[in-house]
C-alpha cells in the first residue's frame, strides 16, 4: 500500500491546472477528495506521475440554487450535501443519497465531482445525477463544454471526459414530487449491492413523470427510461410497479462478485426498486 513516486502540484487557478494537464497529458491527473484516487495509487492500480490537487483552485465549491436550477461546484463535499439547508429544500434526494455513501470520514473528503468523474460503477452519485437529468460542466484547452449525465458514462472508468478536461460543476433542474434513494449494502462503507434513485410527480392521483436510475448493476450507472415510462399515467399500482421492475431488469447487466451471484443481484435490484418507488410515491 505504498504509491509510486509522483510530482505534486497545487495551483491556485484553473489556468494553472490546465497548464499541467497540457504539459503531461495522461501522465497527469487531478485530485479532489482523494478517496477513490489515493487508494488506487496505493494499490499501484493507478500510476499518476503528476498529481494536481484542486483544493486551492478558486471557484470550485459552493451550492447555488437559481431559477429552478441547482448547481454544485465540483469540490462540494458529500458532507456539505448533507448539511446544506437550501439543497435539502430544493433536492432532498441529494441528502438521502449522500448519507448512504461510505462513512462520515470519507464524506468529509469525497466530492461530488470526484464521485461523478471517477467512473466507478459503484459510485452512488452518477446514477443519482442521471435520475435528476443533470448536466456536467467541463473546461479544457478548447474552452467549456456541457455533457448530459445520461450521455457521460461509457464503461467502467471510461467517460466522455477527455484526459485534459476538468469538471467544474454539476447542475440539474430542482426536482419536483416524491423521491427516494434506496441502497442495499453489506456494511457501512460498502458500495451498493443494488441501489435505486427514483423521482416521481403525481397529478390527480396519477403518475405524471417518473425518473429511475440504478447503481452498481452494470459497468455504468443505468438510467432506465422504460422503467420510468411504465409508471407514467398509472396510479403506481402493483401492475405498474412490476412493469417498471421488469423494464429495469431488462436494462441492467450485473456481474458476480463477493456481494453475490447474478441471480441474487437481479433479485435485490427488483426489491430495492420496488421499495424506492413505494417511498417516492408516498412522498409525491
Amino acid at each position: 500500500m505504498i504509491p509510486a513516486a509522483f510530482e505534486y502540484y497545487r495551483p491556485k487557478d484553473m489556468a494553472g491546472v490546465l497548464a499541467v494537464l497540457e504539459e503531461h497529458g495522461d501522465d497527469a491527473r487531478v485530485l479532489a477528495g482523494g478517496h477513490s484516487l489515493i487508494p488506487m495509487m496505493k494499490l499501484r492500480m493507478a500510476e499518476v506521475p503528476h498529481l494536481i490537487d484542486l483544493q486551492d483552485v478558486a471557484g470550485l465549491t459552493g451550492i447555488t440554487i437559481e431559477n429552478g436550477t441547482v448547481r454544485l461546484g465540483t469540490m462540494t463535499t458529500q458532507a456539505t450535501m448533507i448539511d446544506d439547508a437550501a439543497l435539502l429544500a430544493a433536492a432532498p434526494i441529494m441528502r438521502e443519497a449522500a448519507l448512504q455513501i461510505a462513512d462520515p470520514q470519507v464524506r468529509y473528503m469525497g466530492t461530488v465531482g470526484g464521485n461523478v468523474a471517477n467512473g466507478d460503477p459503484g459510485n452512488d452519485m452518477p446514477g443519482l445525477m442521471q435520475c435528476l437529468d443533470a448536466t456536467f460542466h467541463l473546461v479544457g484547452p478548447d474552452g467549456d463544454r456541457d455533457v448530459a449525465a445520461r450521455e457521460f458514462y461509457e464503461a467502467a472508468y471510461m467517460t466522455d471526459r477527455e484526459d485534459d478536461e476538468v469538471l467544474v460543476a454539476v447542475s440539474f433542474p430542482a426536482p419536483e414530487g416524491g423521491y427516494a434513494y434506496e441502497k442495499q449494502k453489506r456494511k457501512i462503507g460498502d458500495y451498493a449491492t443494488a441501489a435505486a434513485a427514483v423521482q416521481i410527480t403525481k397529478e390527480n392521483g396519477v403518475c405524471a413523470t417518473a425518473s429511475i436510475a440504478m447503481t452498481n448493476l452494470s459497468d455504468t450507472p443505468i438510467y432506465s427510461e422504460e422503467a420510468g415510462e411504465a409508471l407514467i399515467g398509472t396510479s403506481v399500482d402493483e401492475a405498474a410497479v412490476e412493469a417498471a421492475v421488469a423494464a429495469m431488469l431488462g436494462d441492467i447487466d450485473p456481474t458476480e462478485d463477493n456481494r453475490g451471484p447474478i441471480e441474487f443481484k437481479r433479485h435485490a435490484a427488483a426489491v430495492i426498486l420496488r421499495r424506492a418507488i413505494a417511498r417516492a410515491w408516498s412522498r409525491a
Binding site: K187, I188, G260, P261, F264
Partner: protein, 808 residues
C-alpha cells in the same frame, strides 16, 4: 495505634479484585501515545518489503534481482539461495511441520514470500519489489481438501520419498501425499454400536469457513544486530515473546542470553500473532547482513492473505438419542484444511487443538472424534482466533448438532439442552473424549438466561410471525438463537501441554519497593486485554498494597520471567495463578517481618486487607507499607533483607468457563438482511476480577463472533486467488453493525485455581458464533431448514430462502 478508617474503606482503597477499576492502559491508547512496533525508530534503520507470489501453485524458474539492486537506496534483496548457507530456507512450525521462509523452488499459496527487499525507506523498498523479476511456471491448484486427498498432484514434495510415497509426519503415518495427520480420540466401535442401536440418530455436515483474526495492528518486527557486543534485539508483534527468543536462538545459533525479544504494545492478536512468520526471520537475517536495524511491517492485504487464518473445518456429525431426548452418543469426523504448511499453533500433542471438547456441556456417555489434516494451496495458519485451540469449531459443531437433533426429535432445543446438561453434582466430570471438567452449574445458568429473555414469550411471538408470513402479512422472519457453551482454557498442565517442547506453565516475579509500591513482571503479554489493570488488582488483594501502586510489566525477555505468552485465554488461569501465588510468598515473608516488628510469634499475626494484625488485638498492627519499609531498613534476625518473590505455575488442570447466550434476530427474506434485535449473554468465568474488563471482553468477543457468523471470510477462487483480501470485502464490523449486548453472569469458581478465576477473553467468541448462526437457522426452521452454512451474509441467506421456495 489508632485507625479511623473502616475496613470497608481500606478494601476500597486497594482497588483489588472484584472492583471496576478503570483500565490504566487507556490513558496512553486514547491519546495516541501507545508504543507499537511501527513506532520504533532507530538510527540508520532500514525498511523491508516482500516480493510475494501472485500464483497459488507454481514452480519458480528464475529470480532476477539485478534491476532491484540497481535502484538507489536498496541495500539487499534476499532470496532462498541467501538463506541456504544459514540453513534458514525452511523453519519449523509450531505444529511439528516445517514452512518455507522464502520460496524454495516453488510457491504453494498466493501471497507466499518469495524475496525480501531491504532499502533505505519504505518507498524505495516498495519500488524495488516491483523490479524483482520472478519467472513462474504455473502448476495445478487445489483449494478443496477433499480433492486434495484424491489428487495425484503432490503439493509438498518435501514430504514424500523417492517413490512419491508419503513419509510419516509429526503425528504419525499419513494416508496420502496431501494428508498431514490423522488424530483420533474416544471409542469408535462403541460409538458406532450405540448409533446402530439408537432410537433416534441425527446427522449433519457443516462447513466452518476459513476466516482470519484481522487484528487492528498488522504483524511486524524490528531486528537490530549489534555486531560489537554480539547482541540481537528483536521487537515484534509477538503473543509469546519468550518462545520466540528460544526459537530464534535454536534457528540462528545465537546463544539465548544474547537475544533480547521485546513485545511492545500490541494492537490486538486473537491468535494471529502466536506463530513465527518469515518476516521476523528475514528481518533478523537482513540486520545481520546489512549491519543495520531492519524494520518489516506488513500491510493489511498482506496480513489477510499470508498470515495465520482460522477455522476451515469440514465437520461431519452424528448424534444419537432416546425417543424422549436423552443423548446416547456422538460421532464427529473433521476434514481440516491446513493450507500449504501445517502452521497451527496448538500444543504439540493436539494436532486439532482441543477439538475433543466437542461433547460440549452435555453428559454424553460415548463419543468418537477423528480429524484428518490436509494440505491445499491456501495460506498456512490454523490459529485459534479468539478461542482456545479449536474450541470455536467444537462448540459450533455440538451446538448445531443439538439443534439438528431437536428437529429430529421434534423437541424444543432449550428443553433438549436442559435434559442433557452435566449436572452440578457430577463435577469434576470426566468427559467421553478425555477432559475432566473442573466445575459448573449449567442448569442454574440456563434457567436464568431463559427467564431473562422470556423464552416462552419469544417462541409464541415467533409462531405468530410464521403465521403472518404464511398469510402474506410480513416478509420478515424471526429467529431465536440459543447456545450453551463450555470452554476449555488455561493451557495447560505441563504433563500434556507444550509448545515446541516448552511446557505451558507461566510466571510472575514481584519486587516490593521500600516505600510500599511494587513492580510485577509476567511471562504473558497483553494485546489489549488490560493485564496492567487486572493483574495489579489480583496483587492488590493478595499483598495489601493499592493496585495504583503496582506496575505490571510484560514482554521484555531480558527482564520478565519465562512464560508461554498470551493466547487461548491462558493469562488469568495460568499467569494469574502465578501472580496470586507469588503474592502469597510475599505475604508469607511479610508475616515474619510483621511478627518481628510487633514482637509476637509468627503465628500470632494474621493478614487483614492491607496489614497484619495481632490476633485478638486488632489495634496492634503493621501495614504492608510499613512492613515493606522494614524489609529494607532493619536487620531482622533470620530474615534476608528485601521483599521479592517469583512463582512459576504449572496448572493442575484446565479451567472450564461456560455461558448461556440468546440471540433474537429478524431476517428480511427478500434481501437477506439481518437485524439483531436482542443479544443476551450470561457468562460464568468463575471469580470475577474486574467486571468492567469482563464486559469489555464480552462486547469485543461477541462482535468478532457476529462478524464471523454473518460474513467474515477468507474466500478463494478455483485458481487459489484470495477474493477477500481487503477490508472492502473482508467484513470487519463497525459500531453501526453492532447491536446492544445485555450481559449477565453466574459465579462458579474453579476449585483448583488459587483465586477461582477461569478466564473470559474467548468465551463470547466461542459461544457467540453458534448463537448468531443458530438464530439464522432457527428463523427458517418452520419452513423445513435443518442446516445452512456460515457465513450468513445477505446473498447466502437469500439463497437459503430461495431454495426453500420463499420467494414465490
Amino acid at each position: 495505634m489508632k485507625d479511623d478508617v473502616t475496613r470497608e474503606e481500606r478494601v476500597d482503597a486497594l482497588g483489588g479484585m472484584g472492583c471496576k477499576r478503570k483500565r490504566v492502559e487507556d490513558a496512553r491508547f486514547t491519546q495516541g501515545k501507545g508504543n507499537y512496533v511501527d513506532d520504533i525508530k532507530l538510527d540508520g534503520m532500514m525498511f523491508a518489503d516482500f516480493v510475494r507470489s501472485p500464483y497459488a501453485h507454481a514452480r519458480i524458474k528464475s529470480i532476477n534481482i539485478d534491476a532491484a539492486m540497481a535502484l538507489d537506496g536498496v541495500a539487499a534483496v534476499l532470496t532462498a539461495e541467501d538463506l541456504k548457507p544459514l540453513n534458514l530456507t525452511w523453519m519449523p512450525t509450531l505444529a511439528g511441520d516445517k514452512q518455507m521462509v522464502l520460496a524454495d523452488g516453488k510457491v504453494l499459496f498466493q501471497g507466499q514470500e518469495v524475496a525480501f527487499v531491504v532499502a533505505k525507506d519504505r518507498y524505495i523498498a516498495a519500488d524495488a519489489v516491483e523490479l524483482v523479476e520472478v519467472e513462474y511456471e504455473e502448476l495445478p491448484v487445489i483449494t478443496d481438501p477433499f480433492e486434495a486427498l484424491k489428487s495425484d498432484v503432490v503439493l509438498r514434495e518435501d514430504t514424500v520419498d523417492e517413490n512419491g510415497t508419503a513419509v510419516d509426519g509429526a503425528h504419525g503415518p499419513r494416508g496420502h501425499h496431501n494428508h498431514i495427520f490423522k488424530w483420533e480420540m474416544g471409542d469408535e466401535p462403541a460409538t458406532n454400536e450405540v448409533m446402530d442401536d439408537a432410537e433416534v440418530v441425527a446427522e449433519e455436515t457443516m462447513y466452518y469457513h476459513r476466516t482470519h483474526p484481522c487484528p487492528l495492528e498488522t504483524c511486524g518486527s524490528v531486528a537490530s544486530m549489534d555486531k560489537v557486543n554480539g547482541k540481537l534485539t528483536l521487537w515484534g508483534t509477538f503473543q509469546a515473546p519468550h518462545v520466540v527468543r528460544t526459537v530464534a536462538s535454536l534457528l540462528s545459533g545465537i546463544e539465548e542470553h544474547n537475544i533480547r525479544v521485546v513485545s511492545p504494545d500490541i494492537g490486538g492478536g486473537f491468535g494471529n500473532k502466536v506463530g513465527v512468520y518469515p518476516g521476523y526471520v528475514c528481518s533478523i537475517v537482513a540486520s545481520i547482513v546489512t549491519g543495520k536495524p531492519v524494520k518489516w511491517v506488513e500491510d493489511r492485504m498482506e496480513n489477510l492473505m499470508s498470515t495465520a487464518f482460522a477455522r476451515d473445518y469440514w465437520m461431519k456429525g452424528k448424534i444419537s438419542a432416546t425417543k424422549d431426548g436423552k443423548i446416547t452418543g456422538l460421532h464427529c469426523h473433521v476434514t481440516a484444511d491446513h493450507g500449504a504448511f501445517d502452521a497451527c499453533a496448538d500444543p504439540s500433542k493436539f494436532p486439532a487443538g482441543f477439538m475433543n471438547i466437542c461433547t460440549g456441556s452435555y453428559d454424553i456417555p460415548v463419543a468418537y472424534l477423528g480429524v484428518d489434516g490436509v494440505y491445499t494451496n491456501k495460506a498456512p495458519g490454523g490459529v485459534s482466533y479468539r478461542c482456545s485451540f479449536r474450541v470455536t469449531e467444537a462448540v459450533y459443531f455440538i451446538e448445531r448438532m443439538i439443534e439438528v437433533l431437536a428437529i429430529e426429535l421434534n423437541m424444543d432445543p432449550a428443553e433438549l439442552r436442559m435434559k442433557n446438561f452435566i449436572k452440578k453434582e457430577q463435577f469434576p466430570y470426566q468427559a467421553a473424549l478425555g477432559w475432566e471438567y473442573d466445575s459448573g452449574d449449567y442448569h442454574t445458568a440456563w434457567e436464568k438466561a431463559l427467564k431473562a429473555v422470556d423464552y416462552e414469550g419469544l417462541r409464541a411471538e415467533q409462531a405468530q410471525r410464521v403465521e403472518d408470513f404464511k398469510a402474506g402479512k410480513t416478509r420478515k422472519l424471526m429467529g431465536v438463537g440459543l447456545t450453551f457453551f463450555t470452554e476449555i482454557v488455561g493451557a495447560g498442565p505441563v504433563k500434556n501441554c507444550d509448545i515446541l517442547g516448552m511446557g505451558m506453565f507461566d510466571s510472575c516475579e514481584i519486587r516490593i519497593h521500600p516505600t510500599g509500591s511494587a513492580i510485577a513482571r509476567l511471562g504473558t503479554i497483553s494485546q489489549g486485554q488490560g493485564h496492567a489493570t487486572t493483574f495489579a488488582q489480583i496483587l492488590a488483594t493478595e499483598i495489601g498494597l493499592p493496585a495504583d501502586s503496582i506496575t505490571i510489566e510484560e514482554g521484555d525477555t531480558d527482564t520478565a520471567p519465562y512464560g508461554l505468552g498470551t493466547y487461548g485465554s491462558r493469562s488469568t488461569p495460568v499467569a494469574g495463578a502465578a501472580t496470586a501465588l507469588a503474592g502469597r510468598k510475599i505475604r508469607a515473608k511479610a508475616q515474619m517481618i510483621a511478627a518481628y516488628l510487633l514482637e509476637v510469634h509468627d503465628d500470632d499475626v494474621e493478614f487483614d486487607v492491607d496489614r497484619f494484625v495481632v490476633k485478638g488485638a486488632p489495634e496492634k498492627f503493621k501495614t504492608m507499607k510499613e512492613i515493606a519499609y522494614a524489609a529494607y531498613n532493619q536487620a531482622i534476625p533470620g530474615v534476608e533483607p528485601g521483599l521479592e518473590a517469583v512463582s512459576y505455575y504449572d496448572p493442575p488442570n484446565m479451567t472450564y468457563p461456560f455461558g448461556a447466550y440468546v440471540c433474537v434476530m429478524d431476517i428480511d427474506v427478500d434481501t437477506g438482511v439481518t437485524d439483531i434485535r436482542r443479544f443476551y449473554a450470561l457468562d460464568d468465568c468463575g471469580t470475577r476480577i474486574n467486571p468492567m474488563i469482563i464486559d469489555g471482553q464480552i462486547h469485543g468477543g461477541l462482535t468478532e463472533a457476529l462478524a464471523v457468523a454473518l460474513g467474515q471470510e477468507i474466500a478463494y477462487d478455483s485458481l487459489g486467488n484470495v477474493k477477500t483480501g481487503t477490508l472492502m470485502d473482508f467484513f470487519l464490523p463497525t459500531a453501526w453493525e453492532v447491536p446492544n449486548y445485555e450481559t449477565d453472569f453466574t459465579v462458579t469458581p474453579s476449585p483448583h485455581h488459587p483465586i477461582g478465576a477461569k478466564g473470559v477473553g474467548e468465551s463470547p467468541h466461542v459461544g457467540g458464533v453458534p448463537c448468531f448462526s443458530n438464530a439464522v437457522n432457527d428463523a427458517f426452521k418452520a419452513f423445513g431448514l435443518r442446516h445452512t452454512h456460515m457465513p450468513h451474509d445477505h446473498w447466502r441467506i437469500w439463497k437459503t430462502a430461495n431454495d426453500l421456495g420463499l420467494h414465490g
